[in-house]
Symmetry: D2
Subunit: 333 residues, 4 copies
């Protein structure tokens, strides 16, 4: 299932060390102005190699629109976006061909498919998120005229919550050949009330699935989240007044449907599994081995997950907006 | 979207105070023995009115199989299950007809549809979960021959983690006309490696969507969950030995695919929003009002969510098992 | 796949000689007035036993709305409709338990599932169409306010095209213990231009799939249909003038999208496979046997397919209308 | 909806005069050997410009595999295939920018989307079928090891049924600046019994939808097709003996499920709508105009539809094979 969404359907493809990574967006409304320059800044934000605390892989990550626009405007036809891979040091991975990296999908992918592209994780690489970000950039353009904006930020890394302390934690992990986890918060403002469906199509269910579908994410919460387990009903319920809700413990969603307040989502990001520290593992024959993952890796993946999480939220919201449009469909109303 | 699942597709229907609640299961494999007596115990576990700390609504909740079996065995045709509603004191809700209950879907449903069935929450009632549990009971029967078992439990209520303290918290909330939240943990044992799909169809993404789709759930985590944000890679990665993984920080899922270890999920349940304590709200005309929700409500909904969460996990797993079966499909292998 | 439609999703269930036949409609817009009395006339039209040329099975076929309406109006929640089976002479089928009836799905169902409910065809019975007609009646109510109406008629039976000759053909088949095929034409008027999607979601593709999905249908054509193979482009193309198209060889659909003209569909209905004439077959053990299908069967099924085909067209159109509503969704337009 | 299939999901993209045409295949089983050289011959068969009776557009149509294979074998990851457009004489279409070509989707696309790419039909061009053929070539590779083969042929053009007469009809149409329609028959051999689903997922319903989804197709029939309307049950039913069915009036499908016999499908292809003969039309402002479509067009499109129809049948069958694999999923069997 490499397709996300019911109405604004994004199908991603491509491996870390294959020819290209890309996405086909089916269901984008016609009449939206869209150029490569609208998408590129999102890819630039996500790109590695921008600083000393990030993977040193150097990719220009230039997006090309192959279809779906005419004279700079979307036509309603599927929009294909591709980014060619360049800086593929597949040789870095030769030593890993027969080893299962702990914390990675190597073992499970082998169990599932009986074979795998070992170069940089192949399809399971974080590089796949590039395609999501490209699609999310288009989603953001669809949401902007509706007044919806999305903003993510890191709120915690390895227990630290201040910016300097966070940087220090990441630096220390890098220097130790290790990595650290963190928490990212994403907020959507300007979202109208009424988005989402009751029962299985709840807006928070869609968001939870979208966020947990990002590699390295181990937890998702909305509004008070796990903190709600320690509250009473009198504390948790958001009072309603003529001026609207007076608090937002719900995180903008009640009964699976948006309230019109800010939608607030937090996700737990595990430490990057690729570390230089020696770990125990087995090879494909089941023989015990030791492994130290060299290559080019981020000591903390949370910063680079921020734009990905923003884009996943954008995809969920644009999909819900299109779904909701159907309720203005035919009928005696 | 009242349908859950891609292969084992469950479509639920029915309102709290309508004629019946039910589910149609499409895609259940043929040849599985199935009688009403196989399903009833699951409904009995979920049923309210079993003790002083639960809603006093008395419903026999007798399930009837309308289709899909022949001589006690599933045929591959859709299985329709219905439960007639009996103890409908719709009158309890007359006073709420024009009021939006804080913490409920009343306001958002009105914003979405422009009208609503106010009686007991209508479709947004927890009574809808009865249909999920009936479907989950069928899923459990499909999983049993594969050696997969699922077990849930309450691990925290309003900060308390011991059984007596938990009961005291619930009792205190009830006596105060208030309610409390909690945390439920669900574990699946016996699950083979290889379930789930990379990218958007990850097993943990499906679980997160399924769990967050249960009313009152505000957070979902797998394995270490939010705790992973405070770990280093060396701590989080589960070492692999010839005898298998030596720890399970991942909670049984790596890269979205099951590892063969126990799948461990925790969910945050908010306090029941229906409380007797007076709250501020508005009526449908926007006029400020006060509300005290009488009716028959659980002071803590977590205990009754346990079987629902187990059933949602069963539905995700049976769906993944059927999806995975396709990889033994046609081809040069 | 017992679900039809993407937006107005109908999931049918039930066997010919089971407890009930029914449908759950998910995605019906809210605010449409709907009572059992709105649906019943459609079931009455489809019902057998109305005349000497039809099956003598007597079923009251009373529909019951179980959910999805409140005070006589749809709420947006799933609408469950059921019809209890009454006149089940399952004993009629005891002799057929181990035999494969030629022209029926007995052999193929056994090949697919490894078991089957032999009573009256079980799930493969024409009785399943009752659920489609119930759903179609709701679709018709959604289409009416948009000015769309659908009308079907028999245009040929066993070569005869006049009403008296048609009746004579059916009578002769019945008297000979045989059956005859026919052609049904269905026309939708008042349909706006712009429905349907390019490529795989073409309106005519959806119609063709819907019609071929009716048991006994062996062919579908739109507009000139197979006659188009004998025309030149100059004859086939419908000229466009300021007053609109001056002919309708296209049958109301160009490039998969409605033109605003009448949508004209014809379907080929094979002769009822259940005949008293002795036929060769085998039993479940592969032993050669002879079979004469007694029971209660229509000598020509085309008349009873007319309301079913109308309802399938209604379902396709309401689904397309809801899909099209999304193009008025978010965006810079 | 630019995606076809439930399990072997093909999403096509690209316009006639855009940068590229392509397809992403999601759900292809792993372990199938696949090189560009396996796909290219199918594109070559479909390519225009091979003879005097075809469009003179010259396109090398070289396919490139962007993802989804590793060391020449499919991995289970999505397979992206693209073909760059070369011989784009968009200028040929400048005169048509504001005109609606009769028999084309120009008018309906404008009605649907409010704008369109007029160059060569944009997304509605027959060039889109190139992506289907690329996907179909992969499907054929999946089917081959199962012993399934698919073969199409022209059986009628403008009333002629012999090869020489057919060629004469096409030549005459070309010389007259006109075009002619025809009938294509496609047969699948080696298909096992048991494919397809009852009710809405019938194999013939899927085939009908797939075939009618090819531009220019106006009718689809299976086995006897429309001829069945003129038969009696005694003639139509295929007798079953210990050696199998003794005839194949059903065309290999009974009750929507394959019988194990040849699957026989016929489709009616309308005359190419682009003709030099002067036709009446209107421009985008509604003003009456005359039009003569120059450009490079096939006087009969049926020959080039043969490989497309074969590929669509291959896609339906591989999808059904994967669906059927699920019935060997979990359960007490």
């Amino acid at each position: 299932m490499n397709t996300f969404g019911r109405n604004f359907r994004c199908t991603t493809f491509g491996e870390s060390h294959g020819k290209a990574v890309g996405v086909v967006i089916d269901g984008c409304p016609p009449g939206i102005s869209l150029m490569e320059a609208d998408i590129q800044p999102y890819l630039d934000r996500r790109r590695p190699g921008k600083g000393p605390l990030e993977s040193a892989r150097q990719e220009p990550d230039r997006v090309e629109i192959l279809s779906g626009t005419f004279e700079g405007v979307t036509t309603g036809a599927p929009i294909a976006l591709i980014v060619r891979n360049r800086d593929q040091r597949s040789g870095d991975y030769d030593a890993l061909r027969d080893l299962f990296r702990p914390g990675h999908a190597d073992y499970t992918w082998q169990a599932k498919y009986g074979l795998r592209d070992h170069r940089g994780g192949g399809r399971t690489s974080g590089r796949e998120t590039l395609a999501r970000v490209a699609a999310g950039a288009v989603a953001v353009r669809c949401l902007a005229p509706c007044g919806i904006a999305i903003q993510g930020r890191i709120i915690e890394v390895h227990g630290a919550t201040e910016l300097e302390a966070i940087e220090a934690e990441i630096r220390a992990a890098r220097d130790a050949g290790d990595s650290v986890g963190g928490i990212v918060e994403v907020t959507a403002t300007g979202c109208p009330a009424g988005l989402g469906d009751p029962v299985f199509g709840k807006l928070d269910a869609a968001i939870a699935g979208a966020m947990m579908g990002i590699g390295a994410v181990k937890g998702v919460e909305i509004g008070e989240g796990f903190g709600a387990a320690r509250l009473s009903g009198g504390e948790m319920n958001d009072p309603i007044t003529a001026g609207g809700f007076t608090s937002n413990h719900a995180g903008g969603i009640l009964g699976g449907i948006s309230t019109g307040q800010d939608i607030v989502v937090r996700i737990a990001v595990k430490p990057t599994p690729s570390i230089q520290r020696v770990q125990k593992t087995v090879d494909i024959a089941g023989k015990e081995r030791e492994i130290s993952v060299a290559g080019r890796h981020d000591p903390c993946i949370a910063p680079r997950i921020v734009p990905v999480a923003e884009c996943m939220l954008a995809l969920v919201l644009v999909d819900s907006m299109l779904e909701q449009a159907k309720y203005r469909g035919p009928g005696e109303r």
